[in-house]
């Protein structure tokens, strides 16, 4: 668990971070979102003391970070950087083993852990002896993550972890990351300027502007109960997609029409979001499929573009005004 209390960072007379407070609960992923220069990276770097705050207090798992040597603190926090920051003169295996070596693990344990991580991140074991320059951008970024995870730190800081990748690779790795068991248990604070990424990876999103927090909350809260005009305008471009993604079939269950029995049905789980389902339907239509349903507790609902959009409109109205 990470807690920030009235933390500020000033360079000369300009405040890069201005008295912010928030916390990341254990096992939660919070995303710091904002334009460049809003103070999000500075905030992240103050947590592992790469930048020292000018005021305020930061506590990790009950301990004030000022009360321990910076090196020791950092060894207990996984750190993933935008430009991976792999050591070009170390092999992949050596790169992954940096923190375990600093912690003086024995050789066997390090080797076992390295192989485990390579496998988990879907990198061939033969990569262990290659150098970073011999890998693709996406592979390098996965090694960067493996290195951060190597010593099993409970807390992970990620600074634009996918920022240097092209959109296609980026989407692919993002999906892999969300499915990674090891990441699910971690307390994660991540920085990004990509709205899509923030909504996909964050349990909560902390939107920053000019060194201050504008709003912190879940995706739905930001979308449907924006604290200020800045929040709505920040999300404007992708609002429609983000909203559809944040609403699940089960959320609008009562608003959907009942389905008749029939054959050749395609069934969607009620835990899927509207965007995914609409995408799936539109691709199935071209193959000739006609009937789409969702089933929950012996109840069968009819799914199609019209019913989903109707449900979405009603749902949105109910939460914005209720």
């Amino acid at each position: 668990m990470i807690q920030l209390e009235h933390v500020s960072k000033a360079y000369n007379n300009t405040k890069a971070v201005d008295g912010i407070s928030f916390s990341v609960k254990e096992g939660e992923t919070v995303v710091l979102l904002g334009t460049s220069g809003c103070g999000k990276t500075t905030t992240l770097r103050m947590i592992n003391r790469l930048t020292e705050p000018t005021a305020g207090k930061i506590v990790i798992n009950g301990q004030n970070i000022e009360e321990q040597p910076a090196e020791q603190l950092r060894r207990g926090i996984g750190y993933v950087l935008q430009h991976h920051g792999l050591f070009p003169h170390y092999t992949i295996a050596e790169n992954i083993a940096i923190v375990p070596n600093l912690l003086k693990w024995n050789k066997d344990k390090i080797e076992k852990r390295t192989h485990e991580l390579l496998e988990e991140l879907q990198l061939p074991v033969s990569f262990a002896h290659l150098y970073p320059a011999q890998l693709s951008g996406g592979q390098q970024q996965r090694v960067g993550l493996a290195r951060a995870l190597a010593a099993n730190p409970p807390v992970l800081l990620m600074d634009e972890p996918l920022g240097a990748l092209d959109p296609v690779t980026r989407a692919g790795i993002r999906r892999e990351f969300t499915q990674l068991d090891e990441l699910k248990k971690k307390t994660i604070l991540m920085v990004t300027h990509d709205v899509q990424e923030a909504f996909e990876l964050g349990d909560r999103i902390c939107l920053m502007d000019k060194g201050k927090i504008v709003q912190i909350g879940t995706a739905t809260e930001l979308l449907f109960k924006p604290a200020t005009g800045f929040v709505s305008s920040f999300l404007k471009e992708q609002r429609f997609q983000l909203e559809l993604e944040s609403i699940l079939i089960e959320d609008i269950w009562t608003l959907l029409p009942k389905a008749n029995d029939g054959i050749d049905e395609i069934v969607f789980s009620s835990g899927r979001n509207l965007w995914e389902v609409l995408e799936a339907i539109s691709s199935h239509v071209t193959t000739g499929a006609q009937r789409f349903v969702s089933i929950e507790k012996d109840e069968k609902k009819q799914i199609d573009a019209t019913s989903l959009m109707a449900g979405y409109t009603q749902y949105k109205n109910s939460i914005t005004h209720g």
Binding site: L50, G85, L86, F87, H89, I98
Partner: protein, 522 residues
Amino acid sequence: MDEQQNLWSFMLQQSDKLLEQTLAHIGLTFISLLLSILIGVPAGIWISRKKQFSGAVLGLAGILQTIPSIALLGFMIPLLGIGAKPAIVALMLYAFLPIIRNTYTGIIGVNAAVTDAAKGMGMSSVQVLFKVELPLAMPVILAGIRTATVINVGVATLAAYIAAGGLGEFIFGGIALNNTNMILAGAIPAALLAIFFDFLLAKVQHLNIKKTRSALIIFPVILIVLSSFYLLPSAISSKMLAGFTPEFMGRSDGYLGLKNKYGLKIRTVVISDAVMYKAAYEKQLDVISGYSTDGRLKAYDLIVLQDDKTIFPPYYAAPIARQEVLQKYPELEPTLNLLSGRINDSIMTELNYRVDYLKQSPEKVAKDFLTGQKLYKNPRNGNKGVIRMGSKIFGEQYILLQMYAILLKGYTDLAVETKTGLGGTKICFDALTNNQIDLYPEYTGTGLLVILQPDSKTVEKMMGDKDRVYTFVQQQFIKRYGIKWLKPIGFNNAYALMMRRKQAQELKIQTISQLKMFIDNN
């Protein structure tokens, strides 16, 4: 072909000396390089941490590099005396700039994301330095060391001027003696050393990063081994130390004659004429090879040892000029001859003293002397033609040149152009024969032994007789080169062995034979 064979046989004949000089050269280069790395790399690291000092430190190292090498060596002498110490320090200072600068740029150039990651993972600043920054900056640092090595191999030749040894002994000896083989015997190995070490370091530099880690350990070891060459003990040891110029070392009427005729066995170092007298005065050297009219003889209270077996030939000074010019301007010869017989040894020593030690200008000294001799006349218009006069680089020649200039301007309508500082005999003489200058003051002994180089029998016969030497060179120069020796000025600026007056008196040494006796008995 003939030249090459001669060179090869010269190198074979001198192989002991060549090996000794080469080892000394390598030793000088690498001791100074090692020291420069030991100081320069930490300095480079320091300014990469404290960037506000980088400008000042790099600027200072840059200034050091712009000081002419010979001047830098000169600055070192009052502080560190002569020999290896000042040479090593001077070379070290030269190597600073490439080493400090490349260490600095190498470290600054390490990808910030990598150092950030290193810190972020919990490496201490020492670990970041040794595990990340230095290994990644290593190719750049090695490039700096490579540059410094090549610079040092080159500059180390100049160490011969301050008795530090090295291949410069052959090079400067060869230039002074007009001996091309000797020059090449020094210059070729020096060039090969530079190429070889450059090649070797290029290999190290391009090793892949992984292997560089082991190279990091091997490299300092090699460096220390190479440095130790210089510390090999010298074979001869005696209590007295002699400092001889490169020219003196190679001449039969110099060190070779001392060995052959007197059987003198003394520990020697090669040293530049410019610092030799002072080194003797400061008791860094006990015996030096000087010139009998040198002003510093008076300045440093040295005495000339009597040449009781006459190995030093007469060196009577006289202007030598191209025949054509003398014919073209008939008034030239009588004017130059006005000085004939006017200056004896002690007058010349006094004049040299005023220039070399009291730092009066040669022009003033020349004018004062001519005025005293009632030879001075105000300059005329100088519209008839131009006489180009040359001189070697030392005060006596400058004074003579100024005297001739004043005389020519006062007694004829000729204009004068002076080209002072033409280095040694070879350069002056070549300039004369190639019609670059019209005349310069030369010495009979030099004309005989350096330029004419007759067989040793002819030399032997004439050695003690100054008139015979003069007649011989006069005849031969006309015949071979169309160059005329004018009347001798009067003084004999011969080679001489010198000691401090006080020491010579204490040890009761007045002649070279007595010096030999003293050395043999101690």
